[in-house]
Symmetry: C2
Subunit: 206 residues, 2 copies
């Protein structure tokens, strides 16, 4: 009912363009400074629109933030949805790891936006976690447990496995500043793919 993305036809071309401009600028600013650290003036400057104009398209700072988080949730959970119950368990999970790492490489701002929100106790995305994330994760955990029970994976706690995959992959985006100091690399440093593949292959191989 409230899925904003599905009826984009209700927006004029100008609205579509400017809403996209604003959301992209907001992603930049929110992910770099957090919700309270970001200002409407920064978003205005980054989007090339005036502050009152931004308030014409969104009901306020919070509205922009919530809209962003809602839109991103889909993209964020996509890799987990792609896991194929009919596939080879080990390959499916390693592919998931690979896709998640790819997300850290291609969408670090999105990763940091989520991290910021969760760090502060998920005040604005909490309901989405319950309604979107939880069912999906429960489904995935059940699937993995089934694979374990069938002896197709080494015994592992599905929930903790998922946490470990999230943690290791998102770490490269969320802690990029620290990693940069230690490796000199700018984005995800060389060897991350191979390392994570080895880590989880060894854990999961029966």
């Amino acid at each position: 009912m409230e899925h904003a993305a599905q009826d984009e036809s209700r927006f004029s071309r100008i609205q579509l363009r400017n809403r996209a401009l604003i959301l992209d600028a907001a992603l930049e600013v929110f992910s770099a400074h957090g919700f309270r650290g970001a200002t409407l003036d920064q978003i205005a400057a980054a989007s090339g629109l005036s502050k009152p104009n931004i308030l014409y398209y969104f009901d306020g700072k919070e509205d922009i933030h919530v809209t962003l988080l809602g839109q991103l949730m889909d993209r964020w959970l996509a890799p987990l949805r792609e896991v194929d119950p009919a596939g080879e368990p080990l390959e499916e999970l390693l592919h998931y790891v690979h896709r998640k790492l790819e997300m850290s490489r291609d969408y670090p701002r999105e990763s940091r936006l989520f991290a910021n929100e969760i760090l502060q106790g998920a005040p604005r995305i909490g309901p989405h976690l319950e309604s979107d994330l939880r069912p999906l994760v429960d489904w995935a955990a059940g699937l993995i447990q089934g694979w374990v029970d069938a002896g197709r994976l080494a015994p592992v706690d599905p929930m903790h496995l998922i946490f470990s995959i999230w943690a290791t992959t998102q770490h490269y985006a969320d802690f990029e500043a620290q990693i940069g100091v230690l490796t000199g690399a700018d984005g995800v440093p060389e060897g991350a793919d191979a390392h994570l593949e080895a880590l989880f292959r060894r854990l999961l191989t029966p």
Copy 2:
């Protein structure tokens, strides 16, 4: 030279007590809302002191934040310093994992404070990372590489191994809000110790 902790004798008893009160309150507030999200009034309320009184003990909001980060850095890096070059490689590293997880359990506020700071690009702790963290990590990486070369550990990229340990352990503190939704647990959920031990034992066993 600038180590504030070493000459605590220069502070009166009242100063010692109130500075501690302020720093503890600030840790609470900063870790929950980030630097810009925290206000002096919140810190004042949480510490039981008046706002001007807080400014009597610290030069400003930023001074409190920097002081906090500096103090915490020591505690934060302690587990890595405890790794014994003369010990059994696998046991030493698994013990490090265990100690880091313990930190997430016992000092989640500290973990989130660091995470907040790094997420925003380490604007205030950057120099400390260079001067304190980097040499220590380089030392540890060299140590691990030596163990690998001696065949006492499975081949592994030391830097990525360290990142994975940080990521998986700190995840339980930094993403507690998300984990709470998914597991119902309040702090670090049951089974984290066993899971991480299995994860890294399998990776590192030659």
